[in-house]
């Protein structure tokens, strides 16, 4: 490949500036603040502070609540990612088969993605809140003991469904695009050889969708890890009894409710390490093993 030389020495840097400024202001600066804060102990108002070394990290890692929160996060993220991807794939394959009004279905299915997480949370809360929710009344009337305010598993189910629902549209879009990229000739050839719908799907369509699926798996896990704060905040507030307190929610709760800023910053540093690890994993292993052609 021929190397390209720009005649102007300044222009390339100038063109890069906006991106660099954004990254520095919105990523490097807050990240450095978190690192700095994580080795301090400070009163809520920031009037007095002192260096405590790694004491905050030691306190977190020896706290059983933190390990519990880690477990909650793993369960929540996997369930959310798998549920939203499974439903999206089902909808995408069904949308492929529809002939009339295909675009209308697609547009409608994309709508939930435009809903803000907190609002999505409120929507589900209004339906399933035990004090005023319509569906809560129906469930109870039919003899189902619905009480997510006390039952941790029910609360977890509720936030998983709300979080997955919001992400279905995004996954749907990518699956539709992925399906369109699969050559029709392959499927037709298999059909001529006598392969039925399910067989065609599992032996041809699903493997060829692998790049999309892996990409979505990472995106969805990251989404469930970090972008579902609004939903959890609106629906359960991390309760009952910490049953839905994910790591991100715990950072907020310890920092802004319990006013332990050092401990909260240390937790976000640990989260930062998790994200870096996830991303590195994605680039190193997942990307290499997936066929893109």
């Amino acid at each position: 490949m021929q190397s390209v030389v720009f005649p102007n020495k300044v222009l390339p840097y100038l063109l890069l500036t906006p991106q660099i400024v954004l990254t520095v202001v919105f990523f490097f600066w807050p990240a450095s603040q978190a690192l700095y804060q994580s080795v301090l102990r400070e009163d809520p108002f920031g009037l007095r502070s002192g260096f405590v070394g790694l004491a905050n990290f030691r306190a977190i890692l020896s706290n059983p609540d933190y390990l519990h929160s880690l477990k909650v996060t793993v369960v929540f993220s996997l369930a959310t990612a798998l549920l939203s991807m499974a439903v999206a794939l089902l909808l995408a394959t069904s949308a492929e088969r529809v002939v009339r009004g295909r675009n209308i279905y697609r547009t409608l299915l994309i709508w939930p993605y435009a809903v803000a997480p907190a609002i999505a949370g409120m929507l589900w809360l209004f339906m399933f809140n035990p004090a005023m929710g319509t569906f809560a009344y129906i469930l109870r009337r039919n003899g189902f003991h619905w009480d997510p305010l006390l039952n941790g598993n029910q609360a977890m189910t509720m936030v998983i469904i709300a979080a997955a629902w919001k992400q279905i549209s995004y996954n749907f879009l990518f699956f539709v695009a992925g399906l369109q990229a699969i050559p029709k000739s392959l499927i037709e050839a298999a059909a001529i050889d006598g392969a039925r719908g399910a067989k065609r799907f599992w032996t041809i369509v699903f493997p060829l969708l692998a790049p999309t699926t892996f990409f979505l798996l990472v995106v969805n896990t990251v989404y469930a890890f970090f972008d579902t704060f609004g939903i959890i905040h609106a629906v359960t507030g991390g309760g009952p009894a910490k049953a839905t307190e994910t790591l991100v929610y715990k950072v907020y709760n310890d920092g802004f409710v319990n006013l332990d800023l050092g401990g909260s910053a240390a937790q976000s540093v640990i989260l930062m390490i998790i994200v870096i690890a996830l991303t590195a994993f994605q680039f190193r292993f997942v990307e290499k093993r997936v066929h893109y052609s």
Partner: protein
């Protein structure tokens, strides 16, 4: 070209500044956490104050629930964007008290506006609660409340209970709740808002048993909780037992359970007297009674709840003057009387209390004097002056988690309270840097 642009920008900025100065009064942001009927009261007060003079303009801003408003205020202070007035709930008082230098005591604020803060004008229990150990009053007591019992008269009649005499002791409440449930008069017998504030903090004061060491934190920061004593264990076990068949229903950590009472779902509710405005609006045929107690322990006196208004240090003199004017306006007898009558919050001045009494309001509205009598009835003991912890909101969260696990049937009351006390003590020790 550049110079021209600068001049133009400077001129337009100047003229804009001058123009806005000529028309707008000094704005005083008031961050609060009032919803429903109480939010209307806040808006109404600000409107009346703004219309009564033209120099200052109070702008109320709703900042979410009580804990959220406190956190918003703290975050704003750290970002040097603090509002003029911040409403902080009872449990946050200890947090604010720890921020020496960040706040201006209410007496100093009033002095800046040429007024004098006379402690004797205010209800003594409230003054004690919002003062430093040396007696300096720190915040302006805006909305003070005390927990009372609300009951649904229609459900009581249906269940064959005496609709004019609400149950007085906890065993009577539990008995009535069971009758309501079994007779089908309501889906649930009893519920309570704020389990921590009502069933532990006020429970301690009202039954004259310690909540924690060091006079529940009023005599010193170093506190160990005592709410795993047998009287608490028995009380919470009774509630846990009732919740098994739905006789007791849990609504949430703050005031959510009020909805269960207003919708007719639950027939008995313990809730702040400040919830009265919404309950009146809901149209439930309600009655009120004293907070229940245990025979042989209570009734002693309840401790003030609700919230007070805090003023940050480092504002301009003009702002302090405006805030002083506003506080003076709020403490006016006619304003206090009205606030008390529409919202159920206590009148914070003695004059307003006397005035309401004289007007015959309490004769026409039996039960409305209950929250004041509960608080003023007896001289407080070391168990009943109040509860003050540097991290009371956090301690409440820890206890709420234990109560939720208990009500879900994961543990009994003894285990929940023992573990709650252990975790809370560790959190207090960490918060005071021990």
């Amino acid at each position: 070209m550049t110079r021209f642009t600068w001049t133009l920008a400077a001129t337009s900025a100047l003229s804009f500044f001058a123009a806005s100065n000529a028309f707008a009064a000094t704005e005083l942001a008031w961050w609060h956490a009032m919803t429903g009927a109480n939010n209307e009261a806040v808006e109404q007060l600000a409107k009346e104050f703004n219309e009564s003079q033209s120099e200052y303009k109070v702008v109320p801003v709703y900042k979410g629930s009580y804990p959220e408003a406190l956190n918003a205020g703290i975050a704003a202070f750290r970002a040097k964007q603090a509002p003029a007035i911040l409403q902080v709930f009872d449990a946050g008082s200890g947090v604010m008290l720890g921020a020496e230098g960040a706040m201006m005591p209410v007496a100093d604020v009033l002095q800046k506006g040429g007024y004098e803060f006379k402690k004797d004008d205010y209800l003594p229990g409230i003054v004690a609660y919002y003062s430093k150990p040396d007696g300096t009053m720190l915040s302006f007591p805006f909305n003070s409340s005390s927990p009372i019992l609300y009951y649904n008269k229609d459900a009581f009649k249906k269940a064959g209970l005496d609709a004019e005499n609400p149950p007085k002791t906890w065993p009577e409440v539990f008995e009535a709740a069971r009758k309501i449930k079994t007779s089908g008069a309501a889906n649930c017998g009893f519920t309570s808002t704020w389990l921590t504030w009502i069933q532990t903090e006020n429970f301690a004061a009202w039954n004259n048993v310690p909540y924690g060491t060091n006079e529940n934190g009023l005599a010193g920061l170093d506190v160990e909780l005592k709410i795993d004593a047998p009287i608490y264990v028995d009380h919470f076990q009774a509630i846990a037992d009732l919740s098994k068949d739905g006789t007791f229903r849990y609504g949430g950590r703050t005031s959510e359970a009020k909805q269960l009472f207003m919708s007719g779902e639950c027939a008995i509710l313990t809730e702040s007297s400040g919830g009265l405005g919404d309950i009146v609006k809901s149209g439930v045929n309600y009655g009120v009674g004293q907070l229940p107690y245990y025979e042989g322990h209570g009734p002693q006196n309840t401790i003030p709840g609700g919230a007070s208004l805090w003023v940050f240090a480092g504002k301009s003199d003009a702002e302090y003057k405006g805030i002083a004017e506003f506080f003076h306006f709020l403490s006016r007898t006619d304003i206090q009387v009205r606030l008390h009558e529409v919202s159920g919050y206590l009148p914070v001045t003695m004059a307003a209390y006397e005035e309401t009494k004289k007007s015959g309001f309490y004769d026409k509205n039996p039960g409305r004097e209950t929250p004041i009598q509960q608080m003023m009835g007896k001289a407080p003991t070391e168990n009943s002056k109040g509860v003050r912890l540097v991290n009371l909101p956090q301690v409440r969260d820890i206890l709420n988690e234990e109560f939720e696990a208990m009500l879900a049937g994961q543990k009994d009351a003894k285990a929940a309270l023992t573990e709650g006390v252990q975790k809370a003590n560790a959190a207090i020790a960490a918060a005071i840097g021990k």
